[in-house]
Amino acid sequence: MASVKEEREARAEAVRHIEREKPALEFGSAWEYSPAPESRDHVRLEERYGLFIGGKFVAPKSKKYFETINPATEEKLADVAEAGAADVDAAVRAAEDAYRKRWSKLKPADRGKYIYRIARILQEKSRELAVIETMDGGKPIKESRDVDIPLVVAHFFYHAGWADKLEYAFPRHAVSPIGVCGQIIPWNFPLLMAAWKIAPAIACGNTVVLKPAETTPLTAMALAKVCEEADLPPGVVNIVPGAGETGAAIVNHPRVKKIAFTGSTEVGKIIQRATAGTGKRLTLELGGKAANIIFEDAPIDQAVEGIINGIYFNQGHVCCAGSRLLVQESIADAVLQKLSDRIATLRMGDPLDKNTDVGAINSKMQLDKIRELVAVGVEEGAELHQSACAIPSKGFWFPPSFFTGVAQSHRIAREEIFGPVLTVMTFRTPDEAVEKANNIPYGLSAGVWTDKGSKIFQITSKMRAGVVWANTFNKFDPSSPFGGYKESGFGREGGVHGLRAYVELS
């Protein structure tokens, strides 16, 4: 049995030991993973994609094509047609025609059958779609394979089920569709955002004109092929790639009855101005700067995983990313130590490698924006911590990073960086945490970490954010509504709430 004296000596020895060798973990090369690239042999890309209008791939009247590249290698993947105003007009007319003659007259259960069929075909092609998504957008294959595509499929299945049950979603109302919906989606979750937009719209009996983002049009074109394969009546889904001008043509088209936009707050404001007074319905899902609040009674190791998932998932190209970490002062040092160690294990590189955790930044433009804001952060006096991972020579890359010593007044704490960059701030009391979390023009999402159940309810009910996660982050489900407060937009997508945007009630 150890005597008190012996134990005191042992403790003193332990302290000397710590002083000699400050404990540190080393994540090196003791056992390296071999490259494990997902095969792209089964993926067939075309050299050139037309516009998908009226059930056919057609050449653009604009005569213009743009290149889409792989952001991890900068290699060109395909040329894609750019829809001009005349093309958008043709798409809207095709959609209107399909709406009047076929889709709005179809029995709701039959509408559902088409959507189920689309869901099943997408499911069968999930591997191919995941690879295309990763090649065109730069996100790790493990995310496109395990998150994006399964959610896409789930969204179509979920909304197929609603097609003939809408009167149960809105009891005591007669439910009818709206007409042609113009939908504009971003580049961060290309196929998933298409699914979020198209599935509820067509389930409710509307037809759509959808514009994918100019850096990531390929899975939308694959979806067009799936619609063709599913024998969806021509014109129900029209896909018109392009950039801002194409989007403007959709927004300003007089026969479009509803606009749904996911993207930046800046563009959202332009769209709201443009649609004001036109009678067009509008839903906007815009930027965010979510607070992820870690209390001292949180399950700390899981909270660190939540921080990682919150900000480095999809390279931080997530509107609901947990980009502002608010950590209680009493545990701040421990959490930051763990965060440092954890980002050292994040594997950045070939997005097609199944072991890659962090992929490529979506575009040169986005990379420049991230670099600019990070430089501002350094200039403002915040301390930058970065993973020491190797950066590939080609493509667009930014290592997982976080800033400490950040104040509410720093630009990096107020502006959406939309990259793998976290700002860390501390708080002392729950009230202070809530005040800091809400003190921002955005309000899309938030996270709260505590093992104390009552505190979860107390804090989450005070958060001015559309989605609040407790002891987890970035969880999505088609039955759960998603959307923002304040400058993060309005309207909800998913669940019964999401259907509301696509129906007329009387």
């Binding site: 134990e7 973990l25 056992w31 993973y33 190791d301 002891n471």
Partner: protein, 303 residues
């Protein structure tokens, strides 16, 4: 317990969120281990094996044969390392020691009233001393789960302290029997308790209870080891045991270690895998990597 200098402080032990830990452990199971990484991983796993036989019908003959397997897991292929240790009951330690002499394979013995641990401390100490005197290099003790679950941490702690004392130079592995502790919070607390009072290794299970070394439990224990290391500077070892039957499971365990504790723990000195049947699956996978085909199980010795 009067022998304790102070009561065990559980207030600073972080809580574990079960959903979160399972998610993280599950995500690490998806690491793709191919080609050279797979071969290196399998050889590393073999070198970390505690080849175990803990049956009522164990005999000297059985143990001698197992020891041969431990020294040369794949006869004719010297690139396959010997295992880390052979784990037996105290009565068979002398036999194992003799069979393994000069091989570098250690002898581990369960002691302290294995597997329930519900015998008086004096018996636990005798058990331990017998094993050590017979030549055991390592002692795998069980904690008194009844005492732990009733909140008597002092009893558990003093058992560990006393047995550690009886071990002398032998390394002490403390078995938590996580299947009986049930919650991750308990696993984390018991890990901390064991490390504080003398464990050189913490070990999940006896192999007599399921569930045993689930990925979630292993990850919770690795995280407890990490926190202890940062607080004290001491590197405690980890030994999952029970229910580990396939190469895939073994490689998953190595992934958990690599990405939680890092390079320093990827050695038999700090990580062991307690198993009996996984060896042949590891060898079969190795042969498959070399030839591209799975071989008949009759090419691998069953000892």
């Amino acid at each position: 317990m009067s022998s304790l200098p102070r009561p065990f402080d559980t207030s600073r032990i972080p809580r574990v969120d079960a959903v979160g830990i399972d998610e993280r452990a599950g995500a690490l199971a998806k690491r793709s281990i191919k080609k050279t990484a797979k071969i290196a991983g399998i050889k590393l796993a073999i070198s970390m094996l505690d080849l175990t036989t803990l049956e009522g019908k164990d005999s000297e003959g059985k143990v001698r044969q197992l020891c041969q397997k431990a020294i040369r897991p794949l006869p004719g292929d010297p690139s396959v390392p010997h295992v880390a240790a052979v784990c037996v009951y105290p009565n068979l330690v002398a036999t194992a020691k003799e069979s393994l002499a000069g091989s570098g394979v250690k002898v581990a013995s369960v002691a302290s009233g294995f597997p329930a641990g519900l015998v008086p401390l004096a018996a636990k100490l005798d058990d331990t001393r017998l094993a050590v005197e017979s030549g055991a290099d390592e002692i795998d003790m069980v904690i008194d789960r009844g005492a732990f679950l009733s909140g008597d941490y002092g009893k558990v702690a003093s058992d560990i302290l006393s047995i550690k004392d009886a071990c002398g130079d032998a390394h002490l592995k403390v078995i938590l029997e996580t299947g009986e502790l049930e919650t991750y919070d308990n696993v984390r607390k018991a890990s901390r308790l064991a490390m504080t009072y003398g464990a050189d290794f913490i070990k999940t299970s006896t192999g007599k209870i399921t569930p045993a070394a689930t990925p979630g439990v292993v990850l919770v224990m690795l995280e407890a080891i990490r926190d202890f290391y940062f607080e004290t500077g001491r590197r405690i070892g980890m030994k999952p045991a029970g229910g580990i039957k396939t190469s895939k499971q073994a490689l998953h365990l190595l992934v958990l270690v690599k990405e939680t504790l890092g390079d320093a723990w990827l050695t038999p000195d700090l990580f062991r895998i307690g198993a009996s049947t996984v060896t042949n699956d590891l060898l079969m996978q190795l042969a498959k990597e070399a030839s591209g085909r799975y071989q008949s199980e009759d090419y691998f010795t069953k000892d």
